[in-house]
């Protein structure tokens, strides 16, 4: 499983990355996590409100700071 966090570096984006990591730790899932800060790549996903969360190439959330529990639900 590949999880990407799309964000240009705002505070919420950094927090989302942390929450993703703690969600993974909680669920014990094996996942590759990548923080995408390149605006061009973010645009390719068609996302306009950051932070956004992408799981296996699919956009699952935009413009929202998800809690670790919400992320755990999305990845399990």
């Amino acid at each position: 499983m590949k999880i990407e966090i799309l964000g240009t570096g705002c505070a919420k984006c950094k927090q989302l990355e942390k929450n993703v990591l703690s969600a993974i730790a909680k669920t014990g899932k094996f996942a590759e996590v990548e923080k995408v800060e390149d605006i061009q790549k973010i645009m390719e996903y068609g996302v306009m409100s950051t932070p956004a969360l992408v799981i296996d190439g699919k956009v699952v959330s935009v413009g929202k700071l998800l809690t670790p529990d919400e992320i755990a639900q999305l990845i399990s």
Partner: protein, 319 residues
């Protein structure tokens, strides 16, 4: 709507504390207690409603709608969407590039970019709590007018080359609608409202506090002399003063309320409020990463002129 509360406050201040209604302290305390509770109640309700409605209008949807529309329809729709979509200046870059990527004209993009922060939930909620629906309607209506006209002007200037970073040439990927149950939307809207209140609460209290002080202690003549009246410089001065105040809209609005009660003219007040929300320095700093300084200066210049025109017209018509 809040008479009952005013009666309680007046009873407390004048009958229990035995303060003289004509004294500065009595009048200031009465004003402060009445205003803080009223504003916080109204803020909570209005922000909650706006946030809930907005959860149904993500910007991605707006982009899909605006794609390929006639320019004039585009300008109007973009400005109106600015009211009902969530906007955070931290997303200004992806938003801007996303619009350009979908071949939405630069001018239409600016109509949206002017309207969205101007119609932010705090500004609207504060306006409604302090001034009632008439001034709020005027503010939104003339705000839309500024956004539409400024967008059209920017569109006519052929400034496309002033965008420093080009979005990828590929068509934006279509995002499948993410289904969220109503219950969850309500909960999210509520959490957001509480978060926001925690953030702006201090400014509201400070603003009303200073407002109460002015209300009780500063004579009207003084305010009319400097902020009111027909002095030609009142409107431009208000517009310039509004620029650095974006993050404190919640704290400044109560001051404007008191100033208008004490004789500041409505046009000047409108210009001041619009400058606070529409001319935001943090947003300009963010946009500088993808737009040339020239384009940002033109954008600020045109919006400032629009805002001042509205101030002058109002003062002239009402004055």
């Amino acid at each position: 709507m809040f008479e009952w509360w005013h009666n309680i406050v007046s009873h407390f201040v004048f009958d229990i504390l035995k303060l003289n209604p004509n004294s500065a302290l009595g009048s200031a305390l009465d004003f402060f207690l009445f205003d803080t509770v009223k504003i916080i109640l109204l803020l909570t309700v209005i922000i909650f409603i706006i946030t809930f409605i907005r959860s149904y209008f993500p910007t991605e949807k707006v982009r899909d709608y605006l794609e390929g529309k006639h320019p004039l329809v585009g300008h109007i729709a973009a400005a109106v969407f600015g009211i009902i979509t969530p906007f955070c200046s931290c997303s200004a870059i992806p938003l801007f590039l996303g619009f350009i990527q979908a071949r939405i004209p630069l001018g239409v993009t600016f109509s949206y970019l002017i309207s969205a922060p101007m119609n932010n939930e705090i500004a609207i909620a504060m306006l409604f709590s302090l001034f009632g629906w008439k001034v709020t309607t005027l503010y939104i209506g003339f705000g839309l007018l500024v956004a539409i006209v400024a967008g059209i002007v920017i569109g006519k200037l052929n400034l496309e080359d002033e965008i420093l970073i080009k979005p990828p040439a590929v068509k934006p990927a279509h995002i499948d609608e993410i289904k969220i149950p109503v219950k969850e939307r309500l909960k999210e809207a509520w959490d957001y409202t509480i978060d926001l209140l925690k953030k702006v609460g201090v400014y509201v209290l400070a603003g009303v506090g200073v407002g109460a002080f002015i209300h009780g202690y500063v004579p009207s003549d003084l305010i009319v002399k400097y902020a009111g009246g027909n002095a030609w410089y009142a409107v431009p001065l208000a517009t310039i003063l509004g620029v650095p105040m974006y993050s404190n809209a919640a704290g400044v609005m109560p001051l404007i309320e008191v100033l208008t009660q004490k004789g500041m003219m409505l046009g000047t007040a409108l210009s001041f409020m619009m400058a606070i929300t529409a001319l935001s320095l943090p947003e300009a700093m963010i946009l500088k990463k993808i737009l040339s300084t020239k384009l940002i200066a033109i954008f600020f210049g045109i919006v400032a002129v629009g805002i001042m025109c509205i101030g002058f017209i109002f003062n002239w018509v009402l004055g």
